[in-house]
Amino acid sequence: MSDRRIGVYICHCGGNISDYVNVETVRQAVANEPGVVVAKTAMFSCSDATQQEMIQDIREQNLDGLVVASCSPKLHLPTFREVARRAGLNPYRYTQVNIREQCSWTHTNDHAGATEKAVRLVRAGIARTNLTDPLQPIVIDTVPAVLVVGAGIAGLRAAVGLADLGLSVYLVEKSPAPGGRVGDFGAMYPHGKNGRQLIDRLVGEVRKRELVTLFTNAEMVAKSGTIGSFNVKIRVGGKAPGEINVDVGAIVVATGFDNYQPAADEYGYGMDGVITLPEFKKLLDDNAGELEYNSRQVKNIVYIYCVGSRQQDGENPNKYCSRYCCNAAVHASLQVSEKSPRAHQFHLYRDVRTYGKYELMYNEAREKGAVFCAFGGDEPPEVVSGPDGKLKVTVRDLLTYGEELAIPADLVVLVTGMVPAANSWLTELLKLPLGQDRFFNEIHPKLRPVETMVDGVFICGTCQGPKNSAESVASALAAVSQGASILKKGYVELEPLIAAVDPQACDLCGDCLETCPYSAIEQDTAAIRINSAQCKGCGGCAPVCPKGAINLKGYTDGQVKSMIDALLKEI
């Protein structure tokens, strides 16, 4: 039997649950479970009134465990942990049982089955709660300083934003000057502003702020510590080489992208007159008057889209869409229309992604005479060089019932996308996870877009995936808000649901030491310990231990087995 005092609340969720699950039957079936002293149903558990009632029950009945059977824990786990905390109950003695998304809603066709399942699920939640220990969040004091890696448009903007919130910033740039890719651009979409001027202005803003220290010719070479208190070694090259150690509370990675480089002969790349989009952009920026290439007037331009993007085969294909290249190509096309109004422009695309208001730019290009032809992914255009040295592009145009077109070209522009920057050393140093596209991976693209699995390390700009300059700046500002919200508080609280070693069972074999990519398992002569600030709580080390000495708090052997027993108990 249990000497615990657990309160159980079963939610109607208006009718979202009780229309399919008989909540009163569930209540009766769990009221006599070991440890249960309060069992109630509630119309809306998350309402203020019910929260107040729970707090009252916890205090009056001296409860030491709380179970709410309602919706998915993604919605209300934090809500009810907070209820527990307000009532003076340790929040880690709370268990949320999902009887909506994983029960009532998915068994709307079987009320008896849904009710029986709900009983089982709630019993398992009670069993787990019986074996919870009060845990304290891991508290770490934070250093009010941030390391920003990369001084392109995202890194510069992040530095300015962080400094304006009163945080010291070390801005590290590996090249001799700040500015990144945008610093090389002339007029840019969507605002028509000049990239060089934008960067000059941002660098001016950075220089105005005493809190920002900019290191050029510099790289981060070592990192230790954890969120709130990292120690970072910066190696500075150039005229006065040396190494500097700085303490920071957070790291913002803004290391940008590389341009896709076509293989030799990919769409005729390497032939005279076949160039990539960035090369074309430079040509436009450098040409003041009518467009010329190698001192020849350019009359016919053929753009081939999706070069190096949305690939299906080959080794490590780039399956993703770079989303900026359609807009950049259409914008370049508009620049051509201005410089050389008589030039003919042909856009051969697979799909056009001039999303949002960039659609207007696409319309404008068409109004100015640009011709758009669609080709199938399985039938790409071909670029050949004739006997006279003139380029010719052939394509089957899907918009005109598959008509075969042969277009003479003075210039063929391969509309190339973005690829991840070559900086595996950084990935290794920061232990940053990569996504399938090999860019740095955020925790969740919508809910936690600049946070990474490494606490205190944020990503922004194109190191995370293709973006245009405006989107890069937006993500830089998101990283500023996230970073500052942690550091301005002065301390961080980490989830205590981490691995623990049972020293009685551990025989110091050391099999676990190599399994943690976060280096959270440490051994000295007497014991193996988990570094609580380093452990991410994945539990990957637990099955590795031959003695079963490692358990993840909240998911211990005892808890899982008692939950299995509870799920199977006779109804």
Binding site: K74, P433, G540, V560, K561
Partner: protein, 142 residues
């Protein structure tokens, strides 16, 4: 269908499904939000990462009365461990060997990668697994 015994006809397999807090559990939630149906004998237990599942738990679940165990893994999407899929596969092999040693069909353990929007794939996979277990019959033959 006179050649099916009453026991076989009424047999409704119980399945323990392990999911992950950040990836596959939201996918299974989405199946519910979309009101997709699967048998109520399927019960889900969510973990941070499937590579933290101990093979002993799988054996324990089958010995105690589950007819099958389904692992809704993160596949390549795991944010914790780059080699998560490899680790989980290794764990599954160990668990299948344990099952086999105790006389259970290793088919009673199945893994599939379920992403955070994989509502449809989860539903069809789990139904198919349910059918497989129905054909195998109860794990505990008293």
């Amino acid at each position: 269908m006179t050649n099916v015994t009453n026991e076989g006809k009424d047999f409704n397999p119980k399945i323990l499904a392990f999911s992950t807090n950040n990836i596959s559990d939201p996918g299974i939630d989405l199946a519910g939000s979309s009101h997709l149906h699967y048998p109520p004998g399927v019960m889900v237990m969510s973990m941070p990462c499937t590579s933290g599942i101990k093979p002993e738990w799988v054996l324990y679940a089958v010995e105690k009365g589950f007819d099958g165990v389904f692992i809704a893994a993160d596949g390549e999407e795991c944010a914790y461990l780059p080699d998560c899929a490899e680790r989980t596969t290794h764990m599954i092999k160990r668990a299948q060997a344990m099952l086999q040693q105790k006389g259970y069909d290793p088919q009673r353990l199945r893994m599939s990668a379920i992403c955070s929007v994989c509502a449809g794939p989860f539903t069809s996979q789990i139904k198919e697994f349910h059918q497989t277990l129905k054909n195998l019959g109860p794990a505990r033959k008293e």
